[in-house]
Point group: C2
Chain length 245, copies 2
């Protein structure tokens, strides 16, 4: 796809099981890393319950604001899987069994000697105008409608759908990262880092504390789309930190 | 605290490092499980960047809608830690070094033979009117202002702050859970589950697929605040599932 300068995205995780704490969401972290790698800026994540009005409202807010919205969860065969209907409602389009999706499911179940029951056919319900996203693990496809990409909640299946949809996405300049590990607590380098940030306003700088052999240490993370500016800023910062008493 | 019937909450995770995928958010899962245990319903999670306008907008939306908002991240000593200022702005109150917070930090650093530098004192900046939340790991306190609870981003520190603030929270009826494991794919039990859900509209039912010894299986999760209704619904559902061909 053509490259735009800045391409943005949100993730919308759909599922009561995440909000109850029963299932820990791994998908948004996987999507975050992937989007950073391919040059899409993830700007927001939301998790909402399996309630149609909540999903529709979140979709409306997010798809107006970001280049893409990636949803996970709620596209299975049971009554609590309402994502496809909510997406149709958010776009004001109809929804029904897609012949293409039905053919994919039929081939998948035929190959396993299983019948395409009504419950399984429910997974072929796709909003009008959507393109299917291949699921090479378990057949039932995801889909993309406008700027909304609808994927499964099971992490392995989400991952193959994300891979399948990637060639269709516009991407922008990749955000590059340089990381400096410093054997000092954040508070000892805060002033140096802040002054350095003022000198390089185009290089975003963050400080993340951690414990190293039981003592507080810091990781300094610098981010920029320009490799030269990033190298410069990182090298200068290293020098300044090493100079500290 | 007094018990209300339904107490709701949102989690607001603040941090570029989560959105870039560099750090995987564990805090919202921890908070989700804890709130479920103590009788608070988590209704929404959002992750936003270290940008003041984003944090203020999310706080305004979430605190108007839910009983409590729990934030994590952005309260350290470096320039990229802007959560306390954003909370002050969201409430329209001033922010400055709190004598109580400063005394806590001074005692903490004195005990370690360290100086309370300006960078460390920055962690004593607390919005006017907020109550402090104890941090028994690393001194620097969290705080609660109105219905917003502000906690650290480091998971161990977040956990002790969550524990410390819990006695101050109103809680409601606990949502109880019954789980049935079924050695069948979702699609084979979908119709049974949907009919059962219609018979017990007050018991929320979800179906979550997983692999058992390489074959698709399902977990049925039933949730209700009434132990009797939950036991009834779970026992009847087990009977119906076992009766399937």
């Amino acid at each position: 796809m053509p490259s735009a300068d800045i391409v943005t995205a949100a993730v919308l995780v759909i599922g009561d099981e995440i909000l109850s704490g029963r299932t820990k969401d791994k998908n948004s972290g996987t999507i975050a890393s992937h989007l950073t790698e391919i040059g899409i800026r993830l700007r927001e994540v939301r998790v909402v319950a399996d309630i149609e009005t909540e999903i529709v409202a979140a979709l409306a807010a997010l798809r107006a604001r970001y280049t893409y919205v990636f949803t996970t969860g709620g596209i299975g065969p049971t009554h609590d899987d309402i994502t496809a209907d909510a997406v149709a409602k958010a776009f004001g389009v109809s929804i029904g069994v897609s012949p293409d999706a039905e053919a994919i499911l039929k081939a998948y179940y035929d190959g396993r000697g299983l019948e395409l029951t009504d419950a399984r056919r429910r997974m072929a319900r796709i909003p009008a105008g959507a393109s299917l996203i291949e699921n090479r693990i378990s057949g039932a496809p995801g889909f993309m409608l406008g700027n909304v990409i609808v994927m499964a909640g099971i992490p392995d299946i989400m991952a193959v759908m994300l891979e399948a949809v990637t060639p269709l996405l516009a991407t922008g300049a990749r955000m590059l990262t340089a990381t400096l590990s410093v054997n000092r607590p954040e508070s000892e380098i805060a002033a140096t880092l802040e002054a350095h940030q003022r000198r390089y306003p185009d290089v975003a700088m963050g400080c993340y504390p951690y414990l190293f052999e039981g003592r507080p240490a810091s990781e300094l993370v610098l981010r920029s789309t320009s490799p030269n500016r990033l190298d410069d800023a990182a090298a200068m910062l290293r020098t300044e930190i090493d100079r500290l008493a």
